[in-house]
């Protein structure tokens, strides 16, 4: 019954010989993805090299190649103090973030601390919010005229802290970066084999001894890795150095780039490019170290115990102390900065000595929604996050598919290219795309659009999305594509109808990650935005420079509100958990 000639099916005779098989629909798409990735990744880097090595702005005529920019920078008296400040700040930030993060990871991941999941949720929150907004929150609580600072001053004569110092800034940055260290630690404790701890207990080690000799050493790779990550982020951080360092005249690399390139009427192109190049070199070195570190992490990988639910360490009489510690931390450093920000947004004046409920006003919000440029910055940010986040997810998925699931020549190298943005600070991405647009006049029309911001953000977060999509892709057996191919589907059909539907959960989480990162991004935008393409971050900086704290607080409140709505919405709708 199966063999009658009348039943013969049309064959899918897509025959090909020699050259022609290299230009099918599938190979055309693959080539386009590879080309787009390479262009996108190198577009911001090359112009910076060029600008750093010429003697005048890159839009002028008659450039001469020169090393003067670099030598000028290295010889300027400021440079070495800036370098020192930056490194000390990054190191202190990292130490604070790691000590706190590891402590919380162990408390939440391995002990019987009460209300663990509730605390975990609160402790992670700063990760969703721009460090610019976090910095403003801290400023309003613990800054020189902050709510708590003033109250402590009135009680004790003076406040024993100042945020206008490298120590103060490191504490703010360290606490902002703590969630990253905690997440890596939690990931590691979730995967580790509880039998290793049981083994230590059964041969006579007490709980603390076990913690010190087994649990902590097993966390070492995640601690080291997130240290480098946090160090890198602190190096390229603009927000906190700008908010607390500039008023105190403490210079950093990023604030140097910002003041020389943005907030001065006559930007020094050569100096900015040279500074960007040096920052780029340092971060690239750090990322290289991260990769080396990951390669050797195998010996810490614990085997087995996948399904077993880790038993928790009983804290005993320390349990209440731990609870008190975590509660105080959450109240002082997570809830208070956010709450005061919200409060400040709703009052005309905030001071511990005047009852705030007598000063309620909606004027800050009213100011924002009645000025088109401010509304535009909110709308732009949302459009960039939704449309850009969607586009970026699709683009990164295509990169992952070509790199991992195609026979495109040198597809494996594509992954390296896709990872390069990890070593390019946001500010440098902004400068680079800005230069690229100046260098290529036909692209000039992009300059005042949010499209260029989407492109720059996409480039900056390729590795983030790749990290969400690629592991899911690896989980899907190649037999899935191979069976589709043999039944008659070409590569593109296989991708559309088989692979993409199968990695849908990973695509959702990639989109969620992209949305959140795009929504809080500001550093790549400060060089790129123009009237018409403002985003929340740039408008916040504008309010800040004008000293308008009420509007800063109101816009920050709007940013946090949208983020909260998005995170809980996407969790409800799609069941996507963004971290962990």
């Amino acid at each position: 019954m199966m063999r009658t000639e009348a039943d013969a099916l049309p064959t899918l005779a897509r025959e090909s010989t020699g050259v022609s098989r290299y230009i099918t629909r599938s190979t055309a798409i693959q080539s386009a993805v590879v080309a787009a990735t390479v262009i996108l990744v190198f577009a911001p880097i090359l112009p910076i090299f060029y600008q750093a090595l010429i003697d005048r702005p890159l839009y002028d005529d008659g450039q001469q190649f020169t090393l003067a920019n670099l030598t000028d920078l290295l010889q300027s008296p400021n440079f070495w103090s800036v370098a020192q400040n930056t490194l000390v700040f990054a190191a202190a930030t990292t130490i604070i973030a790691q000590v706190l993060g590891t402590t919380f990871a162990i408390l939440i991941g391995r002990t019987d601390l009460p209300f663990k999941s509730f605390f975990a949720e609160l402790l992670i929150w700063p990760l969703y919010i721009s460090s610019l907004v976090l910095g403003f929150g801290w400023f309003m609580v613990y800054g020189p005229s902050g709510f708590v600072t003033l109250w402590v001053q009135s009680q004790f004569g003076e406040a024993p802290w100042t945020l206008y110092s490298i120590t103060g800034m490191s504490i703010v940055a360290g606490i902002s970066q703590m969630p990253l260290a905690m997440l890596y630690g939690l990931g590691s404790t979730a995967l580790s084999n509880p039998q290793l701890e049981d083994a230590a207990r059964s041969c006579g080690a007490g709980p603390w001894r076990t913690l010190r000799s087994v649990t902590l050493p097993l966390l070492m790779p995640s601690i080291l890795y997130s240290s480098l990550l946090n160090f890198t982020i602190a190096l390229e951080m603009l927000s906190i150095p700008l908010i607390f360092g500039e008023p105190a005249r403490i210079g950093f690399f990023t604030t140097l780039l910002y003041t020389q390139g943005i907030s001065t009427p006559k930007p020094n192109y050569g100096l900015v490019a040279a500074g960007a190049l040096i920052l780029l070199a340092i971060v690239m070195l750090l990322v290289f170290l991260q990769n080396r570190l990951l390669r050797n992490s195998q010996r810490y990988v614990t085997v087995g115990g996948k399904a077993s639910r880790p038993k928790t360490l009983a804290l005993g009489r320390w349990r209440l102390w731990a609870l008190a510690f975590v509660s105080v931390y959450v109240v002082l450093f997570v809830i208070l900065p956010t709450a005061v920000l919200f409060l400040r947004a709703g009052v005309s004046f905030l001071s511990p000595f005047v009852p705030f409920w007598t000063l309620f006003t909606l004027s800050h919000f009213h100011d924002i929604i009645s000025f088109p440029a401010y509304v535009r910055s909110i709308v732009n940010t949302i459009i960039i996050s939704v449309v850009g986040g969607f586009g970026a997810t699709f683009f990164v998925a295509m990169i992952a598919l070509v790199a991992r699931r195609s026979k495109f020549p040198a597809a494996d190298k594509l992954e390296y290219v896709a990872m390069i943005p990890r070593s390019i600070p946001g500010l440098v991405v902004g400068i680079g795309f800005f230069y690229a647009l100046v260098l290529l006049p036909p692209l000039g029309w992009l300059r005042n659009t949010i499209f260029v911001l989407m492109v720059a953000y996409t480039m900056r977060y390729i590795p983030t999305g790749y990290g969400a999509i690629s592991p899911a892709l690896v989980q899907i057996s190649t037999d899935m594509d191979r069976s589709a191919r043999t039944t008659g589907a070409d590569w593109w059909t296989t991708v559309r109808l088989v692979i993409l539907p199968l990695i849908r959960p990973a695509l959702f989480s990639s989109f969620a990650l992209m949305f959140i990162h795009f929504f809080k991004e500001y550093s790549a935008a400060v060089f790129l935005f123009a009237p018409g393409s403002e985003v929340i971050g740039t408008t916040l900086l504008q309010f800040w420079v004008a000293g308008d704290m009420g509007r800063v607080a109101a816009l920050s409140t709007i940013q946090i509100a949208v983020t909260v709505a998005f995170i809980y919405g996407i969790r409800k709708l799609l069941g996507v958990k963004i971290y962990g």
Binding site: R3, L12, R482, S483, R485, T487, T493
Partner: protein, 370 residues
């Protein structure tokens, strides 16, 4: 339908030659097994035929349709070959129902909806899965998944059906049932089929012919009977019949020759006409033809040798006993219904169960296992 020709096919992975000059032909409607131990190159050959891997050299042709030609570097993409490949993992798409999985190839061929439905129903009936058409793959047992995987390839009438160890993920009982079902289906459909397996029972019972492979080369091509009864070399003898081997020297030739083995014993062997007397040889003995001589009993009335051996171990296998008997430093495994109480026995080795191979330069690897 078409015959499939594989000629001098070679595939290198870096410095490793996974298949090395493999040639065979599958006639129109023939069922041929690629049989061999893991790593012998059988799956690589199958992937090359399906177009999932690009071979290094050689030629693959189905009828007039050249799939791959190393010389003109012609390579037809897998989707244009119209092969049906059933994967060892079944590779059912988990986001599609049974019916959607089977319908997918028809959609690609842009058939009308009504026609697609008719064919899907027809093929699901063939594999007896009609009642589960709306289930998702994870709701099916291994055996059911395997039927769906087969249905998904049969539905578009592939020019060549390729089966990659389709039974290896089933448990022993299910495997037996699936095998006899496959045999029925094979008789019914008469598709040009290549069946990859490492299990000689599957290969023997299903195939018209077997291509036995080892180390990336073809060791022997023949019907199951030919391969079992006239293995081309000790490797084939060992792989097909789990033989025991004695190394020795041919002392006299002819229809019934004699071989001197270690310990100065001589055994009678059959079919030595092509080997010169005095040549070093390997004797392969099929254990299923061996018997234990009761003490004092006369030798059976056939050409053969009674070999003296020591019982090394006895194990009860349920219904029968297996004994390991050491003869001239070689262990023979002999199954029998009774346990051997004595420690020394005589084993009757019929000359017809002894196959002789000249030990030369071309001796395949892993010829002797015991």
């Amino acid at each position: 339908m078409a015959e499939l020709v594989v000629s001098r096919l070679t595939k290198e992975f870096g410095a490793v030659r996974a298949i090395d000059g493999v040639s065979f032909t599958v006639a129109d409607g023939e069922f041929v097994s690629l049989l061999g131990p893991s790593g012998c190159g059988k799956s690589t050959t199958l992937a090359a035929i399906a177009g999932l891997d690009m071979p290094t050299a050689g030629l693959i042709r189905a009828g007039q349709n050249i799939f791959f030609d190393g010389e003109s570097s012609r390579f037809v993409e897998p989707e244009a070959r119209n092969c049906g490949l059933v994967f060892q993992s079944y590779a059912l798409w988990p986001h599609m129902t049974v019916a959607q999985n089977v319908d997918f190839p028809l959609k690609l061929r842009k058939l009308e909806r009504k026609e697609r439905k008719r064919r899907v129903d027809e093929v699901l009936a063939l594999v007896e899965m009609t009642h589960l058409a709306d289930r998702y793959p994870h709701q099916l047992s291994g055996g059911q998944q395997q039927r769906v995987a087969l249905a998904r390839t049969l539905v578009y009438r592939p020019a060549v059906l390729l089966l990659d160890e389709p039974l290896s993920n089933l448990d022993a009982k299910l495997r037996d049932r699936a095998r006899s079902w496959l045999l029925q289906l094979k008789e019914q459909l008469r598709l040009t089929t290549i069946y990859v397996t490492h299990d000689q029972v599957e290969a023997m019972s299903l195939s018209d012919r077997i291509v036995l492979m080892d180390g990336g080369r073809v060791m022997q091509i023949g019907t199951p009977k030919e391969i079992y009864e006239a293995p081309a070399n000790p490797f084939v003898a060992d792989f097909i019949g789990t033989s025991s081997f004695f190394d020795g020297e041919l002392t006299s030739g002819g229809a019934t020759g004699r071989v001197r083995i270690a310990g100065d014993s001589e055994i009678a062997v059959a079919g030595t006409t092509r080997i010169p007397v005095g040549a070093p040889v390997t004797v392969a003995i099929r254990p299923d033809r061996l018997s234990i001589l009761a003490s004092g009993a006369p030798a059976p009335d056939e050409a053969g040798t009674a070999l003296h051996g020591r019982v090394v171990s006895r194990s009860y296998l349920g219904g029968r006993y297996q004994h390991e008997i050491s003869i001239a430093q070689t262990l023979l495994r002999i199954d029998g219904p009774y346990v051997l109480e004595q420690s020394e026995v005589h084993v009757w080795v019929p000359a017809s169960s002894c196959l002789v191979f000249e030990r030369g330069a071309s001796r395949p690897r892993s010829a002797v296992r015991h």
